[in-house]
């Protein structure tokens, strides 16, 4: 349970541990979004705030402050939010919910180095405390490119916005990328931690807000039937895939020079690896979780021959899903000589008793076959089979696949007899689909994460140690790639370069087709 929510609930006679219908409602608070005109803000943040309000999880008096370089009045801002909510919200639009929200919307125009604008922001916050009872509790969401982080954070400090009045809190919320290598990540952390306490900084990795990712922990630690198999005695290898069918779209400026490994492997895939491989935490509070995740990340070892066990690729023009698409080098705003990877696959080993000798294969890419994220735990073959080799010809390895998105769920693959007079064994799958057993639309990751920020619940946010350790893992790979050759080309709409298949073939394995 979260720190301040638990503290507030303690001693409240209307709260009772047995009364589980009452939801966790955030305490009095407000959210300030920098870069409120951006895509993320319109498509994810604003709708998530509305959906939270609609589900009755925001406190009465919750206030939303936008900060951006626009000549807007409060009403103009409210109109922008209104349109964003109408278009993107998950839950149905209700006028009374909107009224409740709209009364607490404010807009502060300005650029990030404008002292006057930050003074206006300060006054706005004071007024909200008086008019709306936000109690001095504010979260600052930095939905801006990382190069502005230092300026914004320093401005918050300079104008006393980062200092919480006694009995209240001020929090910073930052989005990835958390740096582009270890040195820059450390620098960034120093800047932010110089202003906000480490425990008040929330790094959003929206993957961790997904129900399916949280379900990894439930699957592993609430059940008995999986955990006994979850080790080197039974597991042959693990494949973690995050594939996108889209290209880089309008993100050329950000993407070129960064590449898929930094964009995806460093954060999402290593977090998924940590959750899949970690030991059982002593409890589900943020401290115990980060401890176990760090422990396993610290045990991660890169292969000695990076040339043989890592692959990067770059998509070339081709047909994808019936549409003709450009190659990476032909995309607008990309240097035709760019060596940026749009596909990356690496093999990692984990040096501990549970996983020694079990490789974890991580791959990600753009313009691949389809959009899918999954974790596949592939088991060893039965050590002895009483059946003839011909009987089991079509039998593959048992596998447990956690589908993170889309079509969230869990699949188990095992062999079964084909009906008929002869003994023939073939792979079948047993499937659990979220959409089938639970709510048709589970809450968006951002809903959960914003609520957790307001509640001060840090479970689902990577800590700075994890971020830095992840860069430590990836940096040698990037350095090797910089010094050796260039990305392998692959045709858009396929499952990556040949070299990736060869990388697994060398180990006597092959990629699953997700």
């Amino acid at each position: 349970m979260s720190s301040d929510a638990a503290a507030a609930a303690a001693g409240n006679p209307l709260r009772d541990a047995q009364d589980r219908r009452l939801p966790r409602i955030a305490g009095p608070s407000g959210l300030v979004i920098f870069g409120v005109t951006g895509d993320l803000s319109r498509k994810k943040l604003m709708p998530a705030v509305y959906d939270l309000a609609n589900r009755g999880l925001l406190p009465p008096g919750f206030s939303l402050v936008g900060f951006a370089r626009r000549d807007w009045e409060h009403e103009d801002f409210a109109q922008v939010v209104y349109e964003a909510v109408k278009e993107h919200a998950r839950t149905p639009f209700r006028e009374e919910v909107w009224q409740q929200l709209a009364q607490g919307m404010r807009f502060v125009p300005g650029v990030f180095d404008d002292d006057a604008a930050f003074e206006v922001l300060k006054t706005t916050i004071h007024e909200l405390d008086k008019e709306r009872g936000t109690g001095g509790n504010f979260a600052f969401y930095l939905s801006v490119p990382p190069r502005f982080f230092p300026t914004v954070v320093q401005q918050l400090k300079k104008h006393g916005l980062s200092d919480a009045p006694a009995g209240s809190w001020r929090r910073a919320v930052v989005e990835k990328p958390f740096g582009h290598d270890l040195a820059s990540a450390q620098e960034l952390n120093e800047v932010i931690h110089g202003v906000f306490r480490a425990s008040e900084v929330f790094r959003i990795d929206h993957y961790l807000g997904k129900e399916t990712v949280q379900n990894i922990l439930a699957l592993r630690f609430a059940n008995t039937m999986f955990e006994p198999l979850w080790n080197r005695s039974y597991v042959d290898h693990v494949q973690i895939t995050m594939a996108e069918d889209i290209g880089i779209g309008g993100r050329a400026g950000y993407y070129d020079g960064i590449g898929s490994a930094r964009d995806v492997i460093q954060n999402h895939l290593l977090q998924l690896l940590a959750l899949t491989a970690m030991e059982e935490p002593s409890s589900f509070d943020a401290k115990a979780l980060v401890l176990e995740k760090l422990k396993v990340l610290n045990a991660v070892r890169l292969p000695s021959d990076l040339g043989k066990h890592t692959v990067r690729g770059q998509y070339t023009a081709g047909w994808q899903g019936g549409r003709k698409v450009l190659g990476y080098l032909e995309e607008e705003g990309i240097d035709p000589k760019s060596k940026t990877d749009t596909f990356a696959a690496i093999k990692l080993e984990i040096d501990n008793r549970r996983w020694a000798g079990v490789p974890f294969y991580l791959r990600t890419g753009k313009r691949l076959g389809r959009r899918v994220t999954e974790i596949a735990v592939v088991f060893q073959r039965a050590p002895y089979s009483p059946f003839d080799a011909t009987d089991t010809q079509e039998l593959g390895q048992n596998a447990l696949v956690i589908r993170v998105q889309p079509d969230e769920g869990v699949t188990i693959r095992f062999g079964s007899k084909v009906p008929g007079t002869s003994m023939e064994i073939r792979d079948v799958t047993m499937d659990f689909a979220y959409g089938e057993s639970f709510t048709e639309s589970s809450p968006e990751a951002y809903e959960r994460l914003i609520l957790d920020v307001l509640l001060g619940d840090a479970n689902l946010f990577p800590r700075h140690q994890e971020v830095e350790r992840s860069w430590e893992i990836l940096d040698p790979v990037e350095a090797y790639w910089d010094g050796h050759g260039k990305p392998e080309p692959y045709t858009a709409g396929t499952w990556g370069p040949k070299a990736a298949d060869e990388m697994l073939a060398r180990d006597g394995r092959s990629w699953r087709r997700p």
Partner: protein, 342 residues
């Protein structure tokens, strides 16, 4: 897909379900519970619609038991089961079976329902109206983990509530209680919010205002009395539903006021007034909330059985004698019946 069966048995209905699933191409079953709705011809449509909507959140096999005992001696003497299997389309995400129990069979619904329950999955029985006098003792009720009644649909809602308290068994729940969850969460949140540097104000008295004959008003008052250990007054208003709750504290009044059934105003001493969306929810939303947890609802139990003897009386609900928030005692005092029969 719809399959109609007349003069049938549960076995044939089961076979029809398998056939319908095969035809639809999804033999795997992801349903999490069986929901049995006990109703009659006139009311089944609305109840089924609500349950189908709720099944989008909780895929379930919905069994609608429609009793048709018949009026004439000839009708009453015969026993016949007609069934209608619905899969996909309008019927939500699970499977729906309408079971029409004619004649003598109407009194033996559990024999029809038992073979149709999903294996190893929880069972919920819902009586949209005309619940048996003791749901837990009812033959269908004994099959279920969770029994949902709706005292608001009864002829004398408040008396019904008193009766529910008498016959309460773990697993019972009432939609009148479900309806007040939003009220309860806002009130709990209001007490969560301490003014800076000050102690949480101690509530010394409470008032609940609501429509007459509204069991939710009573339950909210009972809950407050149980949790706060203070006298709770109930005032009759024009509605709709509950219109206001006032908690007296030494600093002033905490007031949650909802005159229009949609948007409420929250006033807390020392804090600005604020608006809270507090709309009256549809039956589908209520059922979806009910299905979220299938274990006994202790909070409901404590509230329902608190100060049972005072239920129905126009005076304030009495507080427990000690200052401690009262843990309910199921007192066997028989004044209830009289007070309720008022």
């Amino acid at each position: 897909m719809n399959i109609d069966l007349t003069h049938t048995t549960s076995g044939q209905v089961n076979a029809a379900l398998v056939k319908a699933r095969r035809a639809a191409g999804f033999p795997a079953v992801g349903m999490v519970l069986t929901l049995v709705i006990v109703t009659d011809e006139g009311n089944h449509y609305d109840a089924l619609k609500a349950a189908s909507d709720a099944s989008r959140e909780h895929p379930s096999r919905i069994l609608v038991v429609i009793r048709r005992p018949g009026r004439s001696p000839r009708d009453r003497a015969q026993a016949r089961l007609d069934a209608e299997v619905r899969l996909g389309g309008e019927s939500g995400t699970g499977e729906t079976v309408l079971l029409r129990l004619h004649g003598e069979l109407a009194g033996h619904a559990s024999s029809v329902v038992l073979p149709l329950l999903l294996p190893d999955a929880p069972v919920v029985v819902w009586w949209p109206e005309d619940a048996p006098s003791s749901p837990a003792a009812d033959l269908l009720g004994t099959l279920a983990q969770r029994r949902i009644t709706d005292s608001a649909a009864a002829e004398d809602p408040v008396a019904t509530l008193a009766h529910r308290a008498q016959t309460y068994a773990p697993g019972d729940t009432d939609l009148a209680w479900t309806r007040i969850t939003p009220w309860r969460s806002v009130l709990a949140a209001a007490l969560d919010q301490q003014p800076l540097g000050r102690q949480r104000p101690r509530v010394t008295a409470a008032v609940v205002e609501g429509e007459e004959y509204n069991p939710s008003t009573e339950l909210l008052a009972l809950w407050l009395a149980d949790r706060l250990g203070v006298p709770v007054e109930r005032n009759v208003s024009e509605g709709p539903g509950i219109t206001a709750v006032r908690l007296a504290t030494p600093d002033g009044e905490i007031c949650l006021d909802r005159p229009d059934g949609r948007l409420a105003a929250l006033a807390v001493p020392g804090q600005p007034d604020r608006h809270v969306a507090l709309h009256r929810r549809s039956t589908a939303e209520l059922i979806a909330e009910e299905l979220r947890r299938l274990d006994p609802d202790e909070a409901y139990h404590h509230a329902l059985c608190h100060g049972l003897e005072n239920l129905g009386a126009p005076a304030a609900v009495q507080a427990a004698p000690s200052g401690e928030p009262a843990r309910s005692r199921r007192s066997g005092k028989s004044t209830t019946g009289k007070a309720a029969a008022r």
